[in-house]
């Protein structure tokens, strides 16, 4: 019983911290999340982590859904609820509270500077997320080929992401044998 509370408290503090650090969207915190969930706490394997991320990409809705879904996998409904509150609560509270301030300073040069300072940081962090997830999914040559092919298709065509995901799944079935 106690350990369940400990688990929920650990989840709450981890997700609260990550949600407040997820500047530029949740993709930027994927490496830290993977490190904690897979490396530190051993709640999921790297493969399960990647599969869960993929499932959340295949489902409709915003990408950030992936965070509470880890709570679901780790601690069921209480985990889902705790992680949802900690994932969505702090940033949305900030958004609702800073609306007017943001509007007020819309022409302030400081605002532009902070905004543009975040741009290269976000770019580097998203690239790091992509590299780390590639590392944990492209473990065989056929799988690496699927990663490369999907990236190429996404970059060079206007194909819907859903088709690319479906194609990847089918290719996995065929190639991986």
């Amino acid at each position: 019983m106690n350990s369940q509370y400990d688990l929920l408290a650990t989840l709450a503090s981890l997700f609260g911290r990550l949600s407040l650090l997820s500047f530029g969207g949740v993709i930027t915190v994927l490496p830290e999340l993977q490190r904690e969930v897979v490396g530190v706490h051993h709640w999921l394997t790297a493969q399960q982590f990647a599969a869960l991320y993929a499932l959340c990409r295949a489902a409709p809705g915003p990408n950030v859904l992936f965070l509470p879904m880890i709570g679901w996998r780790v601690a069921g409904l209480p985990g889902l609820l705790v992680c949802a509150v900690m994932t969505y609560g702090p940033p949305t509270l900030l958004a609702a509270l800073t609306l007017k301030v943001w509007h007020h300073y819309r022409a302030h040069p400081g605002r532009k500077l902070i905004q543009s300072g975040l741009v290269p940081v976000t770019a580097g962090l998203v690239a790091a997320s992509a590299a780390l997830l590639t590392d944990s999914t492209a473990v065989t040559w056929p799988l690496a080929a699927i990663v490369a092919l999907s990236a190429l298709l996404a970059l060079s065509t206007r194909l819907s992401p859903l088709w690319i995901l479906l194609g990847g799944a089918l290719l996995g079935l065929v190639l991986h044998a």
């Binding site: 990647a50 993929a54 915003p62 998203v126 690239a127 992509a130 990847g168 089918l170």
Partner: protein, 205 residues
């Protein structure tokens, strides 16, 4: 779903280009429900079409400004957008309505999918399917990283900051807090110098 918390009055609209409709909680819920369900891999283009062109809750200028805030703050951009609009139109109840609309049904769908995955996890055929799916999702992530890095990489200073962030996380495994504390000021400095001496154009908006 809606708590009986004190309803803060919706912020006044002082913008001359203000849009037309002023949705209630029900409209917020339904609008973001539709958005959440039709968003596969990136809801932002859809959000613009829905909020500005179809439902006309905000003008195009307001949308850009709101989006700037939502991208600047931590958290999912579209989730922040829903919260900001909910707060603006209907206070606390508006926030809860918009978030519930955006998140509840997609979460249920994700749970169903993850139950399928858990059930077939040890089946070798299904495992191959899920491996392929995961690889395709990573491919999409690479595309996203590429699109974000392209405008940054052509400017040496900004590209340098991005590269340092990449190395700090992917190779050195620094804690994220430290990366932000060190790199965001560097990013601001780089972007200031870039604009001042290299004459860069702003990379977004």
């Amino acid at each position: 779903m809606k708590l009986s918390s004190s309803i803060s009055p919706p912020p006044r609209r002082d913008d001359a280009t203000a849009a037309i409709a002023r949705p209630g909680c029900r409209a917020l819920f339904l609008g973001f429900l539709q958005l959440g369900l039709s968003a596969f891999g990136g809801a932002l283009p859809l959000a613009h079409r829905m909020l500005v062109e179809e439902r006309r809750w905000v003008s195009a200028d307001e949308f850009v400004e709101l989006l700037g805030l939502c991208q600047f703050l931590p958290g999912g951009n579209v989730v922040n957008l829903a919260a900001a609009l909910g707060a603006r139109f209907r206070g606390v109840r508006g926030v809860l309505s918009a978030l519930a609309g955006l998140l509840v049904v997609p979460t249920a769908i994700s749970i169903a999918l993850s139950a399928v995955y858990a059930h077939f996890q040890n089946n070798p055929v299904a495992q191959r399917l899920f491996d392929g799916l995961a690889c395709a999702a990573v491919g999409l992530l690479i595309q996203m990283a590429f699109k974000l890095c392209q405008p940054v990489a052509v400017r040496p200073l900004l590209g340098g900051v991005a590269l340092m962030c990449f190395i700090a996380i992917a190779a050195l495994h620094w804690p994220l807090v430290w990366v932000f504390l060190i790199m965001v000021p560097l990013g601001m400095g780089a972007s200031y110098l870039d604009r001042r001496f290299i004459g860069g154009v702003p990379e977004h908006e």
